[in-house]
């Protein structure tokens, strides 16, 4: 690998990592606030991608304009799932198990739903071809735009959690649910909001992802594992951690893809996930113990 290729791979990996960061924020938020891992997370990512693909091929809609629609759809599905499914699980010892099984069921509903609506093939959106050349390196336009949009959405989420009243309530519930309850925070409402937000972020990530990669309905669960891996690598509840973990995963995938094969690159998320869990279970920058 010569120096130019090396730098090019770093650029590519970082761009992908930006979208992975956005992918993981939803699962991170939901897990932090609700103690639930959404196994349908990756399927929502995939469905968001297919929505953007459909809007683009059918109506010629720019994926960046599809972004708000994807976010709204994700929010809607998330609120429904929390309101009618997860919200009804009794909060006893079996709750984690039941919520995992439920989201596993939801995952298949989404996969099959997307197959019915938009078929079983790999699809992508080629709305920005070509690349910009800066300093001898190629910046593929689609990747740059996806990276920038992902960064912007992440920043908005951060500002929301940091500065708005509702955002602070969300963080309060994730830090100490009992304390938040005492302060008069409506916890069930916050949970509905959080789950909706998590799904909305997933859908947004999917819209951006389809600009970079080709996706198929069966790939959803792979993105669940990736999102979770990023969260595990970075650590639960840490924005900088999520970003670092995402870029690390993006780089690892791009490099293994270049050096070995795309199939091995697909498995790298899982290997990183296991390695981090076995060596440093709290993640690189995380706050909670496993």
């Amino acid at each position: 690998v010569d120096a130019r290729t090396f730098l090019q791979l770093i650029v590519n990996g970082t761009m992908v990592g930006g979208v992975y960061g956005l992918m993981s924020l939803g699962i991170n938020l939901v897990w932090g606030v609700m103690g639930v891992v959404n196994l349908a997370h990756g399927d929502i990512i995939m469905a968001g991608g297919f929505l953007a693909f459909w809007l683009f091929t059918r109506f010629g809609l720019n994926p960046l304009l599809a972004l708000p629609l994807g976010i709204a759809a994700g929010l809607f599905v998330g609120i429904l799932v929390q309101r009618f499914l997860l919200g009804r699980v009794p909060p006893d010892r079996g709750a984690v198990k039941t919520s995992l099984l439920m989201t596993f069921g939801v995952s298949y509903v989404i996969i099959n739903g997307v197959q019915l609506l938009w078929g079983n093939e790999f699809q992508t959106v080629m709305f920005l071809g070509g690349s910009w050349h800066v300093g001898g390196l190629d910046f593929a336009k689609g990747r740059v735009v996806a990276f920038a949009a992902a960064g912007l959405i992440s920043l908005l989420l951060w500002a929301f959690l940091q500065y708005t009243f509702t955002g602070r309530a969300v963080r309060a519930v994730s830090q100490q649910a009992d304390g938040a309850l005492v302060c008069g925070i409506d916890i069930p409402r916050i949970r509905v909001l959080t789950f909706g937000l998590g799904m909305a972020l997933a859908a947004a990530a999917g819209v951006l992802l389809v600009m970079i990669f080709a996706i198929s309905p069966a790939m959803g669960q792979g993105y669940t594992v990736r999102s979770f891996a990023v969260t595990v690598i970075g650590g639960l509840g840490s924005f900088p951690g999520a970003l670092a973990g995402a870029v690390m995963l993006g780089l690892a995938e791009v490099f293994t893809g270049y050096l070995f094969s795309a199939q091995i690159a697909n498995g790298i998320a899982f290997l990183l996930f296991l390695a981090v869990l076995l060596v440093r279970p709290q993640g690189l920058l995380g706050m909670k113990r496993v």
Binding site: M102, G267, F270
Partner: protein, 318 residues
């Protein structure tokens, strides 16, 4: 009386299974064969996830390992089919030791995601390791095992699954597993060697899907990544186990038969949406009968027999 009726039912059941192929079409024999595979996989899931609180979404990993080991062995040496199935099963059990050692250090969602990822990674390995697995091209098997032989092998597998689960349920080992499911820290404090117990259940549970995978490979007489790690089998297996009642001895049997029949109808009439319907059914079961059929039935019967006295109360969280 109940016990005697139970034995009688068991004897009748065994006799029925034994003579059934004489009277029905090959299609139905094939259907029952598939049902047997699902029932035993549901028992496998039940052992690892029903007794303890470790929810596995990756039992199909062992299905694939069993199928692939067998196919690779048979394509290189002409092994008789039952030996090949057993070899596949043994390989899965051996591999389950290090895998379980790594996975079982994870809890709750970590374990669940780890197992989900494991199946994906193995299926990638099967596609990528072309020198051994022949990748997407797949491996053809000689048509050695007849449907009838496979049917009886499947029935034997179900019998073994039930017997093992029954024995575990009554043993101190089963009690240890249940204590882990209730509260792992407390179990450890009571002196239960939780690591050993979990690992033992993990390895034991890996053998059922592995053997099912081997028999399935003979039935198809062909194996490739998509058939060794079939999409949707995991969700179907879990649905069967939780419908019947996770952690019970007879639940997977009932759930397996009910949802194989349902699955067959769905597959025949609504093939495009059968995964969606399985997903929805899992949700319905979890919402309306989270404990499953057997505990529900047991409670009904208890209530009828003892109308006075306290009704069993669902345990509250600590």
């Amino acid at each position: 009386v109940i016990a005697r009726a139970g034995y009688a039912a068991l004897a009748v059941g065994i006799a029925l299974v034994a003579v059934l192929p004489l009277f029905v079409s090959d299609y139905l024999v094939g259907f029952f064969f598939t049902t047997f595979l699902f029932v035993s996989m549901a028992y496998g899931w039940n052992l690892v996830s029903g007794f303890t609180a470790y929810v596995s979404f990756g039992q199909m990993s062992f299905f694939g390992i069993g199928a692939y080991t067998l196919a690779i062995l048979v394509s290189r040496n002409a092994w008789p089919w039952p030996i090949a199935v057993l070899a596949g099963t043994a390989t899965a059990a051996v591999l389950a030791v290090p895998l379980g050692w790594a996975m079982l250090r994870l809890r709750g969602p970590y374990f669940a995601l780890g197992m989900l990822g494991l199946t994906q990674v193995l299926s990638m390995v099967a596609s990528a390791w072309i020198s051994v697995t022949r990748g997407g091209e797949g491996i053809y098997l000689p048509p050695e095992a007849t449907l009838l032989q496979l049917y009886y092998a499947g029935a034997a597998l179900v019998a073994v699954s039930v017997a093992v689960t029954w024995a575990v349920d009554r043993s101190a080992f089963g009690l240890r597993l249940r204590s882990i499911g209730e509260d792992e820290v407390a179990a450890e404090a009571m002196g239960v060697d939780t690591t050993m117990a979990k690992l033992a259940s993990f390895v034991l549970a890996s053998t059922f899907p592995a053997m099912a995978g081997g028999l399935y490979a003979w039935r198809l007489s062909y194996i490739d990544p998509a058939s060794a790690f079939p999409a949707g089998y995991e969700v179907q297996t879990i649905l069967m186990a939780i419908f019947g009642g996770a952690g019970t001895v007879w639940g997977p049997l009932i759930g397996g038969f009910v949802f194989s029949a349902v699955g067959e109808v769905l597959w025949a009439r609504f093939a495009e949406v059968h995964l969606l319907l399985f997903g929805v059914m899992i949700l319905v079961v979890l919402l309306f009968m989270p404990e499953g059929f057997i505990p529900l039935l047991r409670r009904r019967m208890m209530r009828r027999r003892a109308p006075v006295g306290p009704t069993p109360v669902r345990k509250e969280a600590a």
